[in-house]
Amino acid sequence: MNTRRLIIKAIAAMALTGVAYSAPAWAQDSFPSKDITFVVQAAAGGASDRTSRAIAAELEKDLGVSVIVENRPGATGTVAFAHVAEQPADGYTIGFGPVEFAIAEHLGYDFDRADYTYLAQVMNSPVVLAVPANSPYNTLADFIEAAKTTEMSVSNSGAASSFAATTFTLAKLTEAKLVGVPFDGGAPAVAAALGGHVNAVTAGAGETASAFADGSLKVLAIFAEEAHPAFPGVPTAKEQGYDLTFGAWGGVYGPAGIPDDVKAILEESIKKAAASQTFLDAITPAGILPVYKTGDEWKAFVDAEAARYAEVLAP
């Protein structure tokens, strides 16, 4: 009796092993044949998370497999980036690549831009410079001129942010005495300006839109190519003679060496997702603009941004 059971078990085990081994063999024919993991470098709930979840939902519809969003916060996102870099480059692990892709390496993080396949840029949140309502300055030029004689404090969301870099760059280019004051996130930075504790704030459009709408903040400039729908009547920095653009952009990336055919499928699908209504509904209320660049265009852009930040952030 026992022997018979043993034999049956052995056969069953062999059969199972066989199935387990053969499954990938016939499944590899067409690209998405199993779940895709989408790694987000921030905790659930923030702008990166919301953007990623909207894209993941659209990819799921388009590719017909589940796209699982995985939050791996920590160390300005480099924990998540390193995790993705270590995964097999088969297209089943992708992630959200924020502006830190161009900043992290200048701040001593163990991060290499070359370790990744760039799939597409999908969004950009332009930086704005705002002052409290009772501030005497009404244009960027007013503010910069005044800062040449007296020191001005400008709050931002954190030391390693594109918002901090905006202040540094402005100060460097115009020789104005601007002191960047890093806070723990965009909202406290805006609060410091509302309370009159700092002279100005550099923040994202989403964080400043409500204060602008009820008149408690004056937005002096937008560091973007064109005017922002949330700030009617506010000119860009370029229009005021300062040819600078800054933004918290983001895109989708994977580990280096994703095969071209898989890359093409993903790029095509991400392009559709980035144009979908789900995606627009998720980002526009937060002041984020949809900006699409193909993987190669985005890679060139990231390299250019990194070169620019290297100058500003060099110790």
Partner: protein, 557 residues
């Protein structure tokens, strides 16, 4: 008026009530699960509520917020592991009460005062949100630094017996907090090239380790069969008249503290609970038993941390600035629904404000009712054999901690701090001040440096709010350190005649500001060999009286 009534009535729609009950269940569960915070639950739920009507969505999210605030106290009291950071101070008296056989009483009191805290703070939210929120804006970096310095003086009071050991613990906490990136310059500190340390140690992992895992290891190493007693069989559930009277004062004091702390952006339930506990202790006539299972301590800690809910909702809705991390996530959802928090919300949409208030209050009452009815069943679980309980706790702690970052490194951090916590506990160094240092250190550092960047060194003293608060902090330190010093000097003088006899003692005594390492060295073999039913060690373990040896605060303070 009719707009307000409509707003309140909107909550009683069947679909909204359904959302509310979903929120209660989810909230209670995430609250009880150590490691999973209300912030995470609300963030994940907001993915599903996006497509709902605003009122339905708010019902789910706000109810999770409320119910988690009830749930997180349960593991604090029963297994010394805070369900969320907001219930850290609950462990101070809640767990000793459970060990004294008063788990039921602690749970009921905790639930009652949590409800009082939330409802009272919601009354203020509904009545005076806009003027109160303006107060929040007055708190810039200098003022925040002053608040934090004042809060740091609590270290003295939660150190209890040995101030030296308490302060040492506080400094350990402050040190742990410096690991990671410099908040202003972004330079790496104490990261030893480990990528995960760049973001600093995960706060939740550290507190679960220091409280939960350390207690678990302690139980494991001092396991004795004769000590197993059914907790649910002991003690009353409902407080008696004199106990109601006793908790009235701490509830009032710490409720006020909780509200103010809640309004200040960036300071939440964890700080409020600690501050409330400290102030209630100072005002109490039974100071000596605080930390050893005093019902007033439970009442104070829970009222304070619950009252932050209305406070942070005030800042969030009246200014559009999140009052805490849950609210930061909630603002994202509200914007998607087309609700723009800010001062104009109260003028343009009074119905919505009424709805939010109604949801919060109703959720509080439902959760309270469930808590009061279901609590005995929950506590019955503790009648299981101890090894099963602690094994389950270990599994929950590991899963919960893993969920915070999806990274095994965080779990190792938790286990590491479990061992650290056990060693410190055996040396008599309390965990409370460590957590305080851990919470307050980064706030103190970053705000001081911001203040210096903005105003230079004079910024702290030429502003009325910060100058007053720093003055209060100095008074608190002098008062707390001065009185025992004076008492000691008196005692010394009285002993002066006996000086010669005490010379040998004095030589052995620990020099000030040094840790007494002897207990550690002496008990070292105990850490290595779990004493489970060894006949030879039975004698040793019997000598340690169960009441003092197994009670966390009794051994560590």
């Amino acid at each position: 008026m009719s707009a307000l009534l409509d707003g309140v009535l909107a909550v009683f729609e069947p679909s909204v009530m359904l959302c509310l009950s979903v929120g209660v269940v989810v909230g209670m569960l995430v609250g009880m699960f150590p490691g999973i915070t209300a912030t995470m639950a609300v963030a994940l739920a907001s993915g599903f509520t996006m497509t709902l009507e605003p009122v339905q969505g708010l019902a789910v999210l706000l109810t999770i917020y409320v119910a988690a605030n009830f749930g997180d106290r349960i593991p604090s009291i029963l297994i010394n592991t805070p369900g969320t950071p907001a219930s850290i101070a609950t462990t101070f008296d809640g767990y000793p009460m459970a060990k004294n056989g008063q788990a039921g009483l602690a749970l009921i009191v905790s639930a009652l005062v949590s409800a009082v805290g939330i409802v009272a703070s919601m009354v203020l939210f509904a009545g005076a949100a806009v003027p109160l929120a303006q107060l929040a804006l007055r708190f810039g970096p200098s003022e925040m630094f002053a608040v934090v310095v004042l809060a740091m003086t609590i270290m003295i009071s939660i150190s209890s017996k040995s101030i030296t050991k308490g302060l040492l613990a506080g400094v350990i906490g402050l040190f742990i907090a410096t690991i990671g990136r410099d908040p202003i310059s972004g330079d790496a500190r104490f990261t030893f090239g480990i990528r995960e340390l760049n973001g600093g140690l995960d706060f939740i992992a550290v507190i679960i380790g220091l409280f939960g895992i350390a207690e678990l290891l302690d139980q494991l190493l001092t396991h004795r069969n004769h000590e197993v007693k059914p907790i649910s069989a002991l003690g009353r559930w409902w407080p008696n008249k004199s106990e109601y009277k006793r908790i009235a004062k701490p509830t009032a004091i710490s409720g006020l503290i909780g509200l103010v702390v809640g309004i200040i952006p960036g300071a939440g339930g964890d700080i409020a609970g600690l501050l409330g506990w400290d102030r209630a202790k100072a005002a109490s006539s039974t100071k000596a038993t605080f930390g050893k299972g005093n019902i007033e301590g439970v009442a104070a800690a829970d009222t304070a941390s619950s009252a932050t809910l209305g406070g942070s909702l005030t800042t969030t809705m009246a200014l559009g600035i999140p009052g805490d991390s849950v609210m930061a996530v909630m603002i994202g959802s509200m914007i998607v629904w087309g609700i723009q928090p800010g001062p104009s919300l109260f003028v343009n949409e009074p119905a919505l404000v009424a709805t939010i208030t109604a949801i919060m209050v109703l959720a509080t009452f439902i959760t309270l009712a469930i808590n009061l009815v279901r609590m005995p069943m929950m506590v019955k679980l503790l009648d299981m054999p101890k090894p099963y309980i602690w094994a389950t706790v270990l599994v929950f702690c590991i899963v919960g901690t893993y969920a915070t970052t999806n990274n095994l490194f965080t779990v190792w951090v938790m286990l590491f701090f479990g061992v650290v916590g056990l060693i410190l506990k055996r040396c008599g160094i309390p965990a409370g001040p460590i957590v305080l240092g851990l919470i307050l250190g980064p706030l103190a550092e970053s705000n001081l440096r911001r203040s210096l960047l903005i105003d230079g060194p004079t910024g702290l003293i030429d502003k009325p709010i910060s100058a007053t608060l720093i003055g209060l902090a100095i008074i608190a330190v002098v008062a707390a350190l001065g009185s025992p010093l004076l008492a000691r000097r008196k005692a010394k003088r009285a002993k002066a005649t006996l000086l010669l006899k005490t010379v040998p003692y004095r030589l052995k005594a620990t020099p000030p500001f040094c840790v007494n390492a002897r207990p550690l060295a002496w008990t070292a073999p105990l850490y290595l060999a779990p004493r489970v039913n060894f006949p030879r060690s039975a004698k040793t373990s019997a000598r340690r009286s169960p009441a003092s040896a197994s009670t966390f605060w009794a051994t560590s303070r």
